[in-house]
């Protein structure tokens, strides 16, 4: 009879749990992973985009003014980048809310919204669904990578219950356990932004191929590595990009500079880091035919 308490978002079960919230978090743990790493001179976000199919027309997405294909990583304000995991439609709604909250703050105070305040604004909304009800909570976790003069670079995570917390390195979505332990292993205090990029890509590549289940996907990811490592950048560019990537640093005038990489830049980045380990897995990757790569 556990289902008696399942359908209400605002009613505790006899064990004192809110099932809908837990289900929402479950939904997130199947989503593509988003990794965030804080460094002393910037914040790095990377996201794995689950490929929907090769017939999906992505040509429109390339025209976005700030780059990126805009599925997992978004510009929330000039000083904050958001990475989302969960139900995309819910995420879009939250992103819109975040952008409005940020602009409202700019209107009232003539300053970029402090990162924690933006996280709080969204969490207030998300918390509302655990108490006042509605049909279901937002099935979205977010990472906020931002900068403000109070605490400089910051990385926050928020979940469907409305909890938020600050991190040096964290991740959300599928395989977050593996990724977290990898981050724990390799994160160093006073890491530079260049090292953070490398760390994020390393964790990304490891969590994407070794632990994902399902034969099709497995073949795909092995092939992905094969493509990254064995072929030139020109061929990589033909494929759809499956990684989204963004950094937040300071420009020459000490103003926050958000950079969401466009597909060509991501491929160049992957190529640069992938080439370093070139030949070691040639035998593994070789048997996979190239037309399975998409």
């Amino acid at each position: 009879m556990a289902r008696r308490y399942d359908s209400r978002t605002t009613i505790f079960s006899p064990e004192g749990r809110l099932y809908q919230i837990e289900y929402a978090m479950e939904a997130i743990s199947h989503a593509g992973i988003v990794i965030g790493v804080l460094s002393k001179d910037g914040v790095v976000l990377a996201a794995e985009k689950k490929v929907t199919g090769k017939l999906l027309d992505m040509s429109g997405a390339k025209g976005q003014s700030y780059g990126g294909s805009g599925e997992k990583i978004f510009l929330l304000n000039s000083n904050v980048i958001g990475g989302v995991a969960g139900i995309t439609a819910d995420a879009n709604s939250l992103i819109n809310y975040a952008r409005q909250a940020a602009q409202r703050h700019l209107y009232m105070y003539n300053e970029d919204i402090p990162v924690e305040l933006l996280a709080q604004r969204l969490c207030d909304l998300k918390q509302g669904y655990t108490q006042y009800g509605g049909l279901r909570p937002f099935g979205v976790s977010l990472l906020y990578a931002g900068y403000d003069p109070h605490y400089q670079f910051q990385l926050y995570h928020s979940d469907p219950s409305g909890n938020y917390s600050g991190w040096k390195a964290t991740c959300i979505g599928a395989n977050n356990g593996t990724a977290t332990s990898l981050l724990k292993q390799d994160y160093k205090e006073d890491i530079s932004v260049a090292d953070a990029i490398e760390l994020v890509l390393k964790v990304m590549s490891k969590t994407m191929d070794s632990t994902t289940l399902g034969s099709e996907k497995r073949a795909y990811y092995l092939a992905l590595r094969f493509v990254f490592r064995k072929r030139g950048a020109a061929q990589i560019a033909d494929r759809e990009t499956t990684v989204e990537f963004a950094t937040l640093t300071l420009d020459a005038e000490k103003k926050p500079k958000a950079k969401i990489y466009n597909p060509a830049e991501i491929d160049a980045l992957l190529h640069k880091h992938g080439l370093a380990k070139k030949d070691e897995e040639g035998s593994v990757a070789a048997p996979i035919p190239s037309d399975q790569t998409v």
Partner: protein, 194 residues
């Protein structure tokens, strides 16, 4: 008849305001504090329509405090000044506007810079190195043009302020006898005798 001055220096802002509360031609009080401490590093001198001034200043004071409590850090001087200006501008467009002129001085602890804002009852705001409201402005601004130094020490800044007060005492017909002077710098707010 209120007179207020403010000037910036190396890492500080000095804010001064007279202490008389008058009604018509009668002095009611000579120890009125017209400089509110809005947050640990923010000062606001207010002048204008009696009644409006205190009401508006308290409204601002409480709301800045509320922001500080809610968000654990206080508004930085530029943001606080922007919000105060907006409050005045909204008030101007209401049924009964506040007629209050302000000098907002603060020290930004995150960028380590002093900031001074001149705001009038119409919601005009500008960031300035020195400022004055009331009749004092007619005498002091030219002095400040001549003697203000953004790199001056606190002692030099107070000496410049002293010149302004002396000039007002010498030339203004109805001159206030006492001023309250407050300084805000990296260590917060303190009051000084002049």
């Amino acid at each position: 008849m209120d007179i207020s001055f403010a000037l910036t220096g190396k890492g500080y802002v000095i804010v001064a305001a007279d202490t008389t509360a008058a009604r018509s031609i009668v002095k009611m009080k000579v120890d009125e504090d017209k400089i509110k401490v809005l947050s640990p590093h923010l000062l606001m001198a207010y002048s204008g329509e009696p009644g409006d001034t205190v009401q508006f200043a308290e409204y601002i004071e409480r709301n800045i405090r509320l922001y500080h409590i809610r968000n654990t850090y206080a508004l930085r001087p530029p943001s606080a000044a922007s919000w105060i200006r907006r409050s005045l501008a909204d008030s101007l467009r209401s049924r009964r506007p506040y007629a209050v002129n302000l000098l907002v001085g603060g020290y930004d602890t995150s960028t380590h810079t002093p900031h001074l804002y001149w705001i009038d009852y119409l919601g005009t705001m500008s960031e300035v190195p020195f400022a004055a409201h009331g009749y004092g402005a007619y005498f002091a601004l030219s002095l400040l043009d001549r003697y203000h130094d953004p790199e001056a020490s606190v002692e030099e800044g107070l000496a410049t302020l002293r010149r302004c007060l002396d000039e007002v005492a010498k030339r203004l017909v109805v001159t206030p006898e006492k001023y309250k002077v407050k300084i805000v710098d990296k260590d917060g707010v303190r009051e000084v005798e002049i």
